[in-house]
Amino acid sequence: MTGPRPVPARAPRPARSSRPRPSRSGPSRSRSARSRPGRPRWRAVLGAGGRALPAVLAVLLVLVAAAAPLLAPYDPAAGSLHERLLDPGAPGHPLGTDGQGRDMLSRLLLGARPSLACGIAPVAVATLAGTALGVTAGLGGRVTEQVLLRALDVLYAFPGILLAIAVATLLEAGAGTTVVALSVVLTPAVARVAFTEARRIRSAEYLEAARVSGAGPLVLALRQVLPVVAPVVLVYSSSLVGLAVVYAAGLSLLGIGVAPPAAEWGAMLDELRPSLLTHPWIAIQPALTVLAASVVFNTLGEALRQRIGGDESHSAGATGAIGESHDSGAGSSDRGRHPAPEATR
C-alpha cells in the first residue's frame, strides 16, 4: 500500500516521440542535443559522466610517484654544469635540463613522491584535525566554542614563517617536518570552514531529532553533522593541495623540506623561478606539474563532495551538494523542468 515501486526504465511509448537518451540525460534540451553516440562508451569506462576520471588521474599520479625510480631515465642528482638549461628536446633529455644540468624528466618523475607527500599529507591532516575542531566548536557549548575558536585564532594569526622556523629548529629537516609545519598552518582555516557549516546546522531540526533519539556527541558529530559539513570542507581543503606544494617550497627556503639535490616540485619551481623569463620552457615545467596535480586533486575533491553529499542539496541552508544528478537537470534552473519539448513533438 505504498507508492510505486521502482521499475526499470521502460522504452518510450510509441505515441511519444522521445528518442532514447543516455540514461542520465534529463529534460533539458541542451543535454539531449549534446549526447552524441560514442560518449556513453567513454562514460562506461570512466564511470558515469566521467565521474571516476579525477580518481583515475589521482591514482595514476600516485602510481607514477611509486614507479618513478623505474621510469626515470637518469639519476635525478646527476648533471653537469656544461649541459645546463638545455631546452626540451635536447638529445637524451626530452624535457631538457635544469640549472644544474640535471634531466628535467627524471626530476619531475622522482619529485612526485615528496611533492605529493607535501601536498596531500598536510592537507589530509589539516582536513581531519580542522574538521574535528570545527565541528566540536560548532556543536559544543558556549565555552568549548569560544576556547577552541580563540585558540584557532591565535594559531591563524601566528605568522606562518615563524612557525616554520620554529618547527625547523625543533625537528629534523625532511618531508615529515614540512608536513607538520604545513598541517599546523592549514588547520585553523579548515576548522573555521567546518565550524561555520556546523554552526549553521546546529539548531537544525534534524539535529534536535537526532539528539532526542539519544545520539551522543560523537555519533551526532560523526554520523549527522559530518556528512553535511564534509562537502564544503572537501571543496575548500582540496583547493589547498596546490598551495601546500608551493608553500612546501617556501619552507625549503628556510631549510625545512627535502634537502637539495633531491627533486621536489615546489623546490624545483623555486630553483627555476629566476629562469622563468630566460628559459621559459624549462622553468614552466614544474609550474605546470604543480598546476596539473592540483587540478587533479581539486576535481577529486569535487567528485568526493558529490559522492558524500548525495544527489541533491542539504536543506535550504546552503552548501549542500550539486550531485551527479544535477547533470541531467542542469538546465532546469533556467530552463524549467517541464517535459522536454522534443519528447512531445
Binding site: 500500500m1 505504498t2 533519539s213
Partner: protein
Amino acid sequence: MSAEGPVGARAAGAGVGTGRESGRDPGRKPDSDPGREPDSDPGTTTGGAPLLAVERAVKRYPGGQLALDGVSLRIAAGGATGLVGESGSGKSTLARLVLGLLAPDAGTVRFAGHDPYRLRGRAARAVRARLQFVPQNPRGSLNPALRAGEAVALALRVHGTPRPERAERVAALFRQVGLEPELARRRPRELSGGQLQRVAIARALATGPDLVVCDEPTSALDRGAQARVVDLLTELRERTGLAYLFISHDLAVVRHLAEHVLVLRNGRVVEEGPAAALWDAPADPYTRALLAAATGRTAPAAPTAAPP
C-alpha cells in the same frame, strides 16, 4: 489537575486505562486558577511519580511571544494523553519542553525523575532512548545527507542494537509503519510527505521507548496509512506499555488513541479530561467550537468569542 496513574514501571501491567483515573471532574477548567498548588491534589500520594510530569510550565520566546502560560501535565507509564488546540496555541512548544529541547522559563519538567533539559553524559543517552519524538515537520527532522534507513539505523545503534541486526530491524520497522523497505535507500528529498512522516515514526519506535511525543504524526498520511500507524501505536501501547503524548488536529485520531485529553489555547489548558467525557460534554466554548467544526456539528459559540 493531574493525570497520575500507577507508577510507571513498564511491566506493571500498564494497559488501557492505566492513565485514566483523573483526579478531577471531567470538563473542569483547571487553569482558571493558575496559582493553585498542583501537588495539593491528594491523588499524587497514591502511586509515586508519574513517567512524565510537567508542572506549571511557562515559556516565553525571545521575541516576547508567550507560548506556554502555566501548563501542567502528567502521563503515567502506558498512558496516552492527547493534546489538541488551536494552531499556534503552544502544543509544539510543550512537546519541545517535554523533550528537553527547550528549558521552561518557570515550572518544571520531569521525565522518569530527570529534567530532560539538563540531561548530560552517558545517563542522558539511556534516558533519551526512553523518550522519543515524532516531530511535526518530518522533512526538516530528517538529515538531508542521510538515507532514510540510516536515520533509523542510527537510532537503533543508540538503542544498542548490534550492527548485524540493524538492517533487519530497519526493514521490520519500515514494514511496521507501512513502508517498503527499499525506501530505506532513498534520501529525504526522494520521499513523499507521508513516507517521510512514517520514517520519523519508525525512528521514534526504534529505540524501544517508554514515551513517544507525537507532534502531528499522521498529518500527511492517507486514511489507510493513518489507520495502520494508529493501530500500531495502540498495539504497542497494549503490548509494551508504551505511553504517548499525542498532539493532533485530527480529533478522530485523538479520540481513538488518547484516554486523556488536554485542550490548549493561547498557551493555557482551557479544558482537560478523559477523552470520552470531553467529547460528550465539552465544557469550554472553544472546545465545543472545535469539536463542532471537526464533526460538522454547528458550533455552539463562535471560536473568536471564546475567552482568551
